[in-house]
Amino acid sequence: MSLDAKIPEGPLAEKWSKHKFNLKLVNPANKRKYDVIVVGTGLAGGAAAASLAELGYNVKAFCFQDSPRRAHSIAAQGGINAAKNYQNDGDSVYRLFYDTIKGGDYRAREGNVYRLAEVSVNIIDQCVAQGVPFAREYGGLLDNRSFGGSQVSRTFYARGQTGQQLLLGAYSALNRQIHLGKVKMYTRTEMLDVVTVDGQAKGIVTRNLITGEIETHSGHAVLLCTGGYGNVFYLSTNAIGSNVTAAWRAHKRGAYFANPCYTQIHPTCIPVTGDHQSKLTLMSESLRNDGRVWAPKTVAVAEQLRKGAIRADQVKEDDRDYFLERKYPSFGNLVPRDVASRNAKEMVDDGRGVGGSGFAVFLDFADAIHRLGKDAVAAKYGNLFDMYYQITDEDPYKQPMRIYPAVHYTMGGLWVDYNLSTNIPGLYALGECNFSDHGANRLGASALMQGLADGYFVIPYTLGDYLATIGPKPVDTKHPAFEQTKQDVIARINKLLALKGTKTVNEYHRDLGHIMWEYCGMARTEEGLTKAKGLIQALRADFWKNAIVVGANEEVNASLERAGRVADFLELGELMVDDALMRKESCGGHFRLESQTPEGEAMRDDEHFAFVAAWEYKGDNQPEVLNKEVLDFEFVHLTQRSYK
């Protein structure tokens, strides 16, 4: 089946304006007759819930954390892009659009990405109006910096805590609507299923994480803003609680899952120290503006470093290989994330990795400290240096940081059309939860932009069109689908609670992570992926026999929560492998060793793979069906990405 993305006709720059005009509107007096469910209250969900409530809809918002302010959007460090061109350095909506399409390795939709670039300017206005304290220059105007893979300074930031400040802005807007009674907020509540009535999404089933109560909630539309699924790798920069459950449950109810194999591996994370590790910490990409990435030129020197026989600062200039500067003279250390990550992996595979485990390269600030002074470096990156010191007990002012790539973001997600609607009418996906705007690789400082664009400036328009179409008739909560879905959820919980085996859920999760990282990580092969598929299937079967889940449903039960999420990851993992197997080309974050240029760069196969892979669930342990949405490039010319 081919999918209709419903991209409006017409010139790129006019698509969104024309579309907005053509969308149906809901009469102001009727808006209060509609209930909208928003699951997840990060940047996308918080922004959507607040904006929809401002318009007059009744919003019910859900998050599994104790407060909407905890959503993992809060951890984004670097910044948010916007085509303001405040720096007069040649930026424009078109350039942001072009950079994003190219950065995504030509696997995103032109229409969506152009709209994203277009509304990016409104986001900054909106956030400033809310009191978000962006960095400013002495003249009192907003400051910008350049950010990974970009040659203009279009990134707005708030020290290394941009995500926090933007999220708190959305949280404040949400709070205002809660105060006004337009949003009913359900915290510590986890969505466990979608209720569909006659093919339309009409509600959700949730578990109260304090009492264990299983509840149904109805609404005229359901918005999933539940983030990404990077935790399928066990170790990632995601929060411990980040999970795929909401999206995966929706997928199992019929929503297509698009491009699941597109995973962003972020190049600058603190390396793993041992098996005890529960998560990986990102060091902001902004560090690459002043830090120089290198590895020893020879295995012998690397060997000495690994054994601790010499310190990094004792390695002579001649023995260092600044491999990014050497291979990519024009972008140098600022190449996009996928390129930087893959090169670090190459160094390690080549035996030139450093650190106790050998899984690291250096990010060196000696030159920057020499050039700018320690104080200037501290002013720019002080909090990151402190964070690094805290975790590693090493002083980055004296020794270069050790960094290694880690899973950071998932470009794949629920398939949505131009209106952010999944293929199930009434079910929408926003932010990282959907697949739409980043193609096969996301550029730095674009995630915050997309989450807020979806929540503040896209869904308030597109949702109205759907709601106007279905009319304000109350949702029939007596429909058997509600009770049936609830019973399905209870049955699954009981099945999990019955697991009294020998291996903890955490151990299964770690095993899955190892498989995914090894075979579906930075470099993928037909052989490895095939092997991984078998391993995951076996692991999943073992989980349902031998896992241990303790406690009962009617209480706070982290063991049960975790088990449900890991069970879903065990299914998702296989789909990611299927997708990676199917996509025999390399593109962006998806690197198939079989498809590379003579220089070792990712080689796309536009003839066969310029499409979105939207997978359709067909039942437990049944192969999923591939639906293709062909990507038409009307305005940009497809080229091999080059950052040389």
Binding site: E137, S172, D275, H276, V550
Partner: protein
């Protein structure tokens, strides 16, 4: 799974739920690596408990990089443990020595009832923010972001206040269980910025009223909050809020802003 050589004794507060009485239970944490974070150490203990079929120690946590504000724990007499300017998830076991006895308690405050074991209900913080911790602008403003220049010093000061992660360590550390540092950080952030001026005096009244209603104690300026704040929010925020509050109550015309509900 054990990768280190530290052995510790933990005295952990266990409490089934808000309605039951709790008590300390002693656990051994063995084979702990100094490179583990405090929460990873608890993960190890919990894995051991699950293997035995026991219920793991419940604690709140999420991002594990010191920004979400979800983790808590009152460790050996300190919220977020003995080191300054970090959260519990950023605390590493190298801070402790082999053989040490570590006492772990939940945040203690009437306004933060225990949910289970070491996790407490901090929704009082949300309700205070809902009472007025916002600028009343709807989505879709058309004022250009650079239309209002803000002096860098003001923006930086506002930013310092805005870094609060809402973890509740200030309440936990305060001998009076006062929430003044938390409340004042938001009041100050918005009170300093031009965007926050129109509601400056109604906001402070609304937020203080909600704070009082939640049953937090009174500030006696001991400074324990500032000392324990993982984000180093300063007590000057409290004074700024006091100033705004007294100005509002004694000299300004506006009362607590009554919002139209739009209905």
């Amino acid at each position: 799974m054990s990768t280190g050589n530290m052995n510790l004794t933990l005295k952990v507060w266990r409490q089934k739920n808000a309605d039951t009485k709790g008590a300390f239970v002693t656990y051994k944490a063995e084979g702990i690596s100094p490179d583990m974070s405090f929460l990873e150490m608890l993960d190890v203990v919990n894995e051991g408990l699950i293997h035995k079929g026991d219920e793991p120690i419940h604690f709140d946590h999420d991002c594990r990089e010191g920004i979400c504000g979800m983790c808590s724990l009152y460790i050996n007499g300190h919220p977020h443990g003995p080191k300054n300017a970090i959260t519990t998830c950023q605390l590493h076991m190298r801070t402790f020595h082999d053989g040490e006895i570590i006492v772990i308690e939940p945040w203690r405050a009437a306004a933060f009832p225990v949910i289970k074991d070491l996790a407490v209900d901090r929704s009082a913080f949300d309700r205070i923010q809902q009472a007025g911790g916002f600028v009343s602008v709807n989505t879709g403003v058309t004022i250009d972001a650079n239309a209002i220049p803000i002096p860098k010093v003001i923006a930086d000061e506002a930013f310092n206040s805005a870094t609060c992660i809402g973890c509740g360590a200030c309440v936990a550390a305060c001998k009076n269980a006062s929430a003044m540092l938390f409340v004042s950080a938001k009041v100050t952030q918005l009170g300093m910025l031009p965007q926050g001026q129109p509601e400056r005096y109604s906001r402070v009244q609304a937020m203080v009223a909600q704070m009082d209603a939640e049953g937090f104690g009174n500030c006696t300026n001991t400074g324990a909050c500032e000392a324990e704040c993982p984000k180093e929010i300063k007590m000057t925020n409290i004074s700024r809020m006091n100033n705004d509050f007294f100005s509002a109550k004694l000299f300004r015309e506006e009362g607590v802003h009554e919002h139209a509900t739009g209905e």
